[in-house]
Symmetry: D2
Subunit: 429 residues, 4 copies
Amino acid sequence: MNNLEMSDGAKPLLNAVVKHIRENVDPISDEFFAINDTKENRWSHTERQMELLEGAKQKARESGLWNFFLPNAETGEGLSNLDYAYIAAELGKNPLASETLNCSAPDTGNMEVLERIGTEEQKEKWLKPLLAGEIRSAFAMTEPDVASSDAKNISTSAVLENGEWVINGEKYYISGAGDPRCKIMIVMVKTSPDAEPFRQQSQILVPMDTPGVEILGPMHVFGHDDAPHGHMHIKFTNVRVPESNMLWGEGRGFEISQVRLGPGRIHHCMRSIGQAEKALDLMIERGLSRVAFGKKIVDLGKNMETISRAKIEIESMRLLVLKAAKAMDVLGNKEARIWVSMIKAKVPEQVCDIIDQAMQVHGATGISQWSPLSGMYAQQRTLRYADGPDEVHHHVIARNEVKTYQESNARQAIAKSHQPERGSSGFMG
Amino acid sequence: MNNLEMSDGAKPLLNAVVKHIRENVDPISDEFFAINDTKENRWSHTERQMELLEGAKQKARESGLWNFFLPNAETGEGLSNLDYAYIAAELGKNPLASETLNCSAPDTGNMEVLERIGTEEQKEKWLKPLLAGEIRSAFAMTEPDVASSDAKNISTSAVLENGEWVINGEKYYISGAGDPRCKIMIVMVKTSPDAEPFRQQSQILVPMDTPGVEILGPMHVFGHDDAPHGHMHIKFTNVRVPESNMLWGEGRGFEISQVRLGPGRIHHCMRSIGQAEKALDLMIERGLSRVAFGKKIVDLGKNMETISRAKIEIESMRLLVLKAAKAMDVLGNKEARIWVSMIKAKVPEQVCDIIDQAMQVHGATGISQWSPLSGMYAQQRTLRYADGPDEVHHHVIARNEVKTYQESNARQAIAKSHQPERGSSGFMG
Amino acid sequence: MNNLEMSDGAKPLLNAVVKHIRENVDPISDEFFAINDTKENRWSHTERQMELLEGAKQKARESGLWNFFLPNAETGEGLSNLDYAYIAAELGKNPLASETLNCSAPDTGNMEVLERIGTEEQKEKWLKPLLAGEIRSAFAMTEPDVASSDAKNISTSAVLENGEWVINGEKYYISGAGDPRCKIMIVMVKTSPDAEPFRQQSQILVPMDTPGVEILGPMHVFGHDDAPHGHMHIKFTNVRVPESNMLWGEGRGFEISQVRLGPGRIHHCMRSIGQAEKALDLMIERGLSRVAFGKKIVDLGKNMETISRAKIEIESMRLLVLKAAKAMDVLGNKEARIWVSMIKAKVPEQVCDIIDQAMQVHGATGISQWSPLSGMYAQQRTLRYADGPDEVHHHVIARNEVKTYQESNARQAIAKSHQPERGSSGFMG
Amino acid sequence: MNNLEMSDGAKPLLNAVVKHIRENVDPISDEFFAINDTKENRWSHTERQMELLEGAKQKARESGLWNFFLPNAETGEGLSNLDYAYIAAELGKNPLASETLNCSAPDTGNMEVLERIGTEEQKEKWLKPLLAGEIRSAFAMTEPDVASSDAKNISTSAVLENGEWVINGEKYYISGAGDPRCKIMIVMVKTSPDAEPFRQQSQILVPMDTPGVEILGPMHVFGHDDAPHGHMHIKFTNVRVPESNMLWGEGRGFEISQVRLGPGRIHHCMRSIGQAEKALDLMIERGLSRVAFGKKIVDLGKNMETISRAKIEIESMRLLVLKAAKAMDVLGNKEARIWVSMIKAKVPEQVCDIIDQAMQVHGATGISQWSPLSGMYAQQRTLRYADGPDEVHHHVIARNEVKTYQESNARQAIAKSHQPERGSSGFMG
């Protein structure tokens, strides 16, 4: 469980990914993002942007890097989560990298789910174009009207009528649904209000162009709409899809969530750590390049300690994420869920702090458009809600820890034996 | 020094201000801000917006509330800082309120400076229309190319040539300079590079329409440009103003800063506390109105303790700000500067934390455009830089505390006497 | 409510107390405490110690300072809580001072209770010698076997048999019960297990020498027994006291607690702030007197910011404690209880932090017997439990804040109105 | 570098150590420590204590576990630091365990130093009886009169006179020097005040019974003297030792420190983590066994989140310590020093917090002699100074991080490239 080394077998892949990013992605990034400043329609890529992007995708296909994230459907073989974690750290360094390798969120999770539990028909219709990088997809879970942190609250309803599921409700923060290339959503719905609590929800495929699907607008993140990707607010009014669009069967919504959430969180956390490293480098760069009160800023006040604490936490977080990935490999998604909750609860909160400190060292520039820091902060801040707020993960971890304690005679024996007798002078440490 | 009660004499004014906000400002606010969503030119108010605003200003004039912030030029009489602090708390509750009473930042500071140290000509030309609410103004201090936290670094130069000051340099985060009604700037410039460090800077009046003044664009705050107010980036290229535009005399830039900064910080901090109170109310409202895992959110986990800690800090901050205001009244701006640094270093940081916690209780809505919280956060976050970053204020406070200790025989005697003799068994607490 | 100035009438008393400490207490302190290092019986004062102490007490009596804390029984007149707070700050500077003025804990609380609700017989027998400084007393509340933070849990029983209350149970952390001069305890007991929850407890007078009262030993605080004062562990086995020893009547235990707790907490918190000030001075003294890596320690790393933050919090806490005292004067103990909970929850926790930082600046000496810091820390750490743990006070504050919000239409209206309409672009701050 | 698994070869040893503790140490611990409460001379073990201890030592010798910590002198083979870290975690669970295996601090460090750089004569005279467990030893570094955090300050002098080193000065916190079995000290002295700063200090062997070595008394830790081990204050007055007692040569004091500090810190940190785990178990046990306000304490307020955060940090710290041990194995002590500083700066501070939270859950019992928590706290608190205060380690880490950044063109390139052009709309995250 503590061998957190990348496997030798995966190292050539890592090297190839690094080479791809350096040769095919880094060189197009400046031009790609500069177009965002001037283009007329913010809600789609321009032709030139698509040309750049598709060019890099084609090169990834040619290098055999396309879809490397996906295990072999027949043999089950593929990258371990641990190996993937190392690659994810590299992907996090360029915001375009994932898409050129067809492993952007939420597509990877959606493809994984379809691959594992989709019917042949579902795979043919949606998995195939997703794997080909021809379309994109979304995952619709969170609702504006209930505390979705408790997924049992989800209330968008799906009722079976004449062989069709009829869906009504509202979802928001549907990331990626702003992009016109997004063609399909997996939607969490309540199908079985009378079943036991964890069997009431289902997941169902809804094409974006189904009548009754109405995009009300983009949700903002600290005022940003993240166009053209977008975190959309969507209303479902009598949306009808065929009965066969149900995934895995009615009432299995929670089970499907177990399939998808783990690796995505590893990916997210590794990217977050990459952001923390970038923030630390920006902090040092700024601290070295400005002078106040006769000293480099880096040498003023608590700044050196801030750098040290950031470094320590970055290394701690990296090891913990690798351990969670390893736990998924060794124990399976279900048993490893505590480890995944641990990184989910620790990493984004701590990374927000590190970015905030980097902002402070920058002075007013730190919160301006001349620095990526405020955008990085906004993005990391959302991760403290995404896939469950920190608080839910803390509760899961604590409940498990209490239960583990209760089941361990050895731990109880020690805890009880180390309560000195009343009347003793105790104090033995 | 510890009588922090509002004076009886000022209470009628407070009541009148509260009445004005309730009757003249609150009723127009929704319409005023709704126009922002649809108007074509984001960088000015619409005719309807001006109509609403001028209507409220007129009512303030009729009620005798106009310019209440300003002490009588001849008698020096006027509101104490302490009384003003109570009124500022009310002003903070509606973002339009200050402007309807002609006491918006940075106009108040600018008017105060002109009133106290301006020449008759300067008063006639700029103070009069400012007092009349016909124009607005800006204050240009921070520079993008140096660490302006150390004001001695400021490098925009002004050189006297043929009876004109010729100004060259760049300033940024010039708040209010985006509004077309802004007609005049007070600019901090380096006039005397060979003088001793605190006598090298001067403050000078620069009309916005002077040739060579070029607005390069708005600086963003967490991605927001705050149009039409704007935090502008301005370039000065051979900008020429008459010699008489100099304020108070060459090399007195730092002295003038002492005049302006105190009351503005009281005002800002009181507004910040108002924001913390609003965040606390939003946190409670949300916590009461949503249910997860069978409980109201307010009753989950650490939320009650979060509310308690927010309440305690709000009350602590309020008392500290009142004390700082009182110190200014009793000791004068200069002696009270440590108290002002204390509130400047404590309040915005703590208010950011409280708003962040309120966001977390809201779930994803907390960072979205459906809640004012992320905008409130962005605004408060900037205050950790404005008028000097937290770190500079902490240093000023600590240096003063160390000096005070060194000058106090009594404190030193106690500190030294409470070092038990070596060999004693000590431990007496 | 915000006039936190000491009354003019009380200033002469304050001056007299300061003079008494300087002239009569400070000069005897070194000799008094030095005796502790060598004396044979740690559990009583030596003759010489008593001589020193009684000498100072006599001088206080002669100066008319004796029992100044107590309001006039007939007129109800006396020191306000606010005035007392200022005096308490001075008392906190010398650990002997309170006793020389007959206002040590828990005697003051006990005398206050007896004065207000005692019968003539109870007053004659116990209040009189307490007021004369001839005996000392204790207050027995906390129990080792239940979570006493919830006072309803208290289970030491008192049953009426033949005109006598028969008491059985265990109490611990009975401060002062180690001193042979302690002759009487007020004991919280459960008399009425069938009454409604807040009417089950009573308070009763138990002389220390009653048969069945057994001192099992001293409780330690970070390994210290605080002899001869002592925090004793006491067992009650069929302890019989006359029916008339009941205070105020059966089932009124909680009511009596309201009488006693407020002023004592003001006193404690003011003393805690005094400890924080002492810690800050020790931190500065050490930081100025040692050099490492070519600089004074005070100028290394984050030390200056640590000093600044300590200073800011000390001033914030002082104002909050004064406000709580004022609230007690204006609103009465019951209404002011939220303010008292606020200082109780904030002050000891923050003072512990400040002392801990002072220790860190001292290096190993900071935790040794050569510095008072570790003893100060231990003492302050206990205050996070005494009179209810921090957590209970936070809960009381939060519950009240939520209730206040629910009862305020104005606050609710604002909180709800500041939720921008869905679909708006929000972000107005 | 990231394979943090224990080696297969070391697993039998780990199992044997666990078995030894369970069978030979746990059974004698209660009796051993109970004797401390009653024995007459606190400053030595009783005969019965020695009998118990020597019995367990003998069993360790018989099982071949004796001195397992020491690498083979000739082949250099032995336990890796990583393997030792796993064993240290087990040793930390019983305070007697280390001594029964002859691997107590500071003996292990002293033996290591003697083994690696001692002369034959030094080995014969001191290493041999240490390896045999017949005597114990001390390490004298810290001085009361200077800031020893900067080791260059050390001023105890050693001057060569007639073939003898004459030592004068004061040391304190000499752990283990209270035990009468302690026969030898390694003392850091200044021999070469005119050499360059890092070549002025030397380390020298001083037998405890040398004339002029005077134990002034025990230093306390939060009021505890930790008898009979003791943290002694020692004065050296014209202490004369033979020239051959010098270790490795004059001026090599800092070099020797590099040899000793690494593994000891791994050991200490692993033991600290063991203490955090124990504190977490005590917190859960208490939280489950008491009820207040109708709920188990564990379910009140923030307690579950506190448990979760403790768990997350324990796992993070464990991985970081294993990584530091691995770094020592792979990179050597010198290159790995940053990793060692990282654990030294993070672990004790965080473990103090966890123990403090466990205390708070316990109520007053938490700081009393009925719980080991306050003793555990005191012990961990000292580790924030031992072998350099946190602040020194943070500075070392930050300086290295800044230097690494300055030497990395790649990092600089990214940091600079991610500064968007002025004028761009930035915000891409």
